[in-house]
């Protein structure tokens, strides 16, 4: 009896610790989705090596699709997590600024001719131009939020509204089409490598942000500003700078996403590119168990959250749920998350657990 009891305590203690870990929230959701798919149709997990029409090896299967299509969201989740942590608000203009970044990229690649036979500039130059522009727009949002103290959602509403028109204007309202194949390497596959390139790009972004968080004070400073702006100021931090910096980093993420999105189809459609992606990015942060009111954050959890969303989307496509109903499912997930993480529910939950412990002891 004695041994059994201690064993029990050990196990429940272990689970307790695990449950309390923030990263468990998106992981549990991911496992649930996997479990659901395993029961409904195990072919969900099948991965096949095939060849695309150009004769290059490619991996295919639902899991690969999730890794591929989820890349943009994962990259945006990185920036969105920082903005959320530093400002306690969200940037809703990322979809529109993605259109701008993509438009700039194509403008540099195509020059004045919207249907060039050859690229007018190296892709790296076009990408750097897109980065600069996207970071400037990020800085614009950041200044509105940090200097003029406008609520982030309201401040970014400006670009949310105007961004796609600006994107169309950059290319004189034309729809450039790139025929050069090297651009597709960034959105599809590099010949000879069967794993989709967007996944590599996403991993590269994760490594970069991982190193930055490990070797700089970005995490500490961002959290400090998010938790209490005034006290961080008293401690010698510059909250204005940190907030603008978080928006600029998000701008960089947006430029990377713009590259992938444009490379996927070698063209752009200003009105639908990256449509509603801001909501998914915010949802990824929320699914990661991060407080949308700012402060502490867990980057890994946000990134996993992004893949959970893509997994949900792919699952729903697989089961042929009407795709215009997708936002409703996501909305339900948000509601559940928000309720679970609400302080009132947490308190009740803790009180319940405490009571149970007392009972057990008795």
């Amino acid at each position: 009896m004695q041994t059994n009891e201690t064993k029990n305590a050990g196990v429940s203690g272990f689970f307790g610790r695990m449950i309390r870990k923030q990263v468990m929230i998106p992981l549990a959701a991911l496992l649930l989705l996997f479990l659901f798919n395993l029961i409904m149709d195990p072919s969900f997990f099948k991965i096949e090596l095939g060849y695309n029409s150009a004769g290059n090896p490619v991996l295919s299967g639902f899991l690969i699709t999730i890794l591929d299509s989820g890349s943009e969201l994962a990259i945006l989740a990185i920036g969105m997590t920082l903005v959320t942590a530093a400002t306690g608000g969200q940037d809703i203009s990322v979809g529109a600024t993605t259109a701008i970044a993509g438009s700039v990229l194509l403008r540099v690649l195509c020059g004045t001719n919207s249907r060039p036979e050859t690229l007018q500039a190296p892709i790296i130059v076009a990408f750097l131009a897109a980065c600069v522009v996207a970071m400037l727009f990020g800085a614009f949002n950041g200044v509105l939020v940090a200097v003029f103290k406008i609520q982030p959602m309201i401040a970014t509403l400006i670009l949310y509204t105007a961004g796609r028109s600006i994107a169309a204007w950059i290319n004189n309202n034309e729809l450039p089409v790139v025929s050069d194949e090297s651009l597709t390497y960034f959105g599809e596959f590099i010949p000879g490598i069967p794993i989709p390139t967007p996944f590599f790009i996403a991993v590269a972004c994760m490594i970069v942000i991982g190193l930055v968080l490990k070797f700089t004070n970005l995490r500490l400073y961002t959290q400090a500003v998010g938790i209490n702006e005034n006290s961080s100021k008293l401690n010698g931090l510059n909250p204005v700078f940190i907030k603008i910096l978080s928006f600029v980093i998000l701008g960089l993420c947006v430029a990377v996403v713009g590259l992938i999105k444009v490379a996927r189809i070698s063209t752009i459609n200003y009105s639908v590119i990256a449509k509603d992606i801001e909501m998914d990015a915010i949802l990824a942060v929320a699914l990661g168990g991060n407080a949308l009111s700012g402060g502490k954050f867990n980057m890994t959890a946000s990134i996993i959250g992004a893949y959970v969303i893509q997994c949900l989307t792919t699952t729903l496509y697989k089961f042929q749920v009407r795709s215009d109903a997708l936002p409703a499912y996501k909305a339900i997930v948000v509601i559940v998350l928000v309720i679970v993480s609400a302080p009132v529910v947490r308190e009740k939950f803790n009180a319940f657990m405490a009571k149970r412990k007392v009972k057990e002891a008795a």
Binding site: R264, T267, L312, T314, S323, D324, Y329, V336
Partner: protein
């Protein structure tokens, strides 16, 4: 134990979200909001445009006021606006003023202004079907003749001279008849729809639905909306490929979505187009799409004719010479292009 139970409950709630079927109301409201906000940016520019061109009025020219939707809206609208601007010039005997808005109330304000300015003709592509009666009556009282183009409105036909429109159902019908003419033993169709509820989606979907209902060898492998978005279309087709279902037709309701679908096929090395395993169908005759046809990568592209100006010109000429318009609703001729018969000339003429 109970701690685990609670977490299990939370998880179960999430699974329920996956299982439960739901409506699409949230996405609808979101998209209308976005549309409403996007419009504002262009309105000021529109007003200036009108003012500038009004001052250039001169003697014998026919004064027309043209109210259109924002040319940034789509490639179709850009082509439509360019066509209008090319037709209604001083060389062609017109003194034209333009106003752009995606908002009905602003369009009505612009119409009232045009009527006050004493234009001879008011050309209108209305943002919304309702709310035009009183302003059209004002026009009638002022002797301004109204011609509708591209979109119809809910108003008494006596209030306007003519209405020049596309028949989306006919577009779908033409496409489906072409497909039936291909003589396949079995039609397993991936149907990728536009934004649900739009006129183009409803018209182009109707023909497919009817055909599938009427014939046993016509099946819908999947019918999903990609909301005119290439990337969503790619994901939808990818999902069908990943699940290993057989299909031999992709019916996409615009060119962008057809392009996305083809990207998914290329990735899986499924041949398409002329002599391919899968028939690719698109709409809107974008120049690049017609080039895909010419290259044999796609099979069919249906036209949605943005060139209404010549029809309007004809109507005005008839009225000016004292003739009458017999049929108020003029449906434009719209073609469907087949990859096997399309020529470079077609692309130059019809590509938008």
């Amino acid at each position: 134990m109970k701690r685990k139970l609670v977490s299990a409950l939370v998880c179960a709630a999430m699974v329920a979200t996956v299982l439960a079927g739901c409506g699409n109301s949230s996405s609808d409201t979101a998209s209308t909001d976005a549309a409403a906000t996007e419009e504002t940016a262009t309105d000021d520019a529109a007003a200036e445009d009108t003012a500038a061109e009004d001052t250039a009025a001169s003697g014998d020219l026919i004064k027309v006021g043209i109210i259109n939707n924002d040319p940034n809206e789509s490639g179709y609208r850009t082509a439509n606006d360019a066509d209008m601007k090319a037709m209604f010039t001083e060389e062609n005997g017109y003194d034209a003023s333009f106003a752009y808005s995606l908002k009905n109330d602003e369009q009505i304000t612009a119409a009232q202004k045009f009527i006050q300015d004493g234009v001879d003709y008011l050309l209108l592509s209305a943002a919304d079907t309702a709310g035009w009666d009183s302003v059209l009556m004002d026009a009638q009282a002022a002797g301004t003749r109204v011609i509708l183009f591209d979109r119809t409105i809910d108003a008494d036909p006596s209030l306007y001279e003519a209405s020049i429109v596309s028949d989306m159902e006919a577009e779908g019908q033409t496409a489906v008849e072409w497909l039936a003419g291909q003589g396949l033993d079995e039609y397993n169709i991936i149907h990728i729809q536009g934004v649900m509820g739009s006129a183009a989606q409803q018209g182009r979907t109707k023909a497919v639905d009817e055909m599938v209902a009427a014939n046993d060898n016509w099946n819908l492998v999947t019918q999903q909306t990609a909301e005119w978005n290439a990337e969503k279309a790619q994901q939808i087709v990818q999902s069908v490929i990943d699940s290993g279902q057989e299909f031999n037709v992709i019916y996409a309701e615009n060119d962008d979505m057809a392009k996305g679908a083809v990207a998914a096929l290329d990735k899986a090395n499924i041949s398409h187009g002329v002599d391919g395993d899968v028939i690719i169908m698109g709409f809107d005759t974008n120049t690049w799409a017609l080039e895909e046809l010419l290259a044999g990568n796609w099979n069919y592209d249906g036209q949605c004719n943005p060139y209404q100006a010549s029809y309007i010109d004809e109507v005005i000429k008839t009225i000016e010479s004292g003739g009458t318009i017999e049929e108020k609703t003029i449906i434009m001729e719209e073609k469907g292009f087949d990859a096997e018969t399309i020529t470079q000339e077609d692309i130059d003429t019809y590509g938008i």
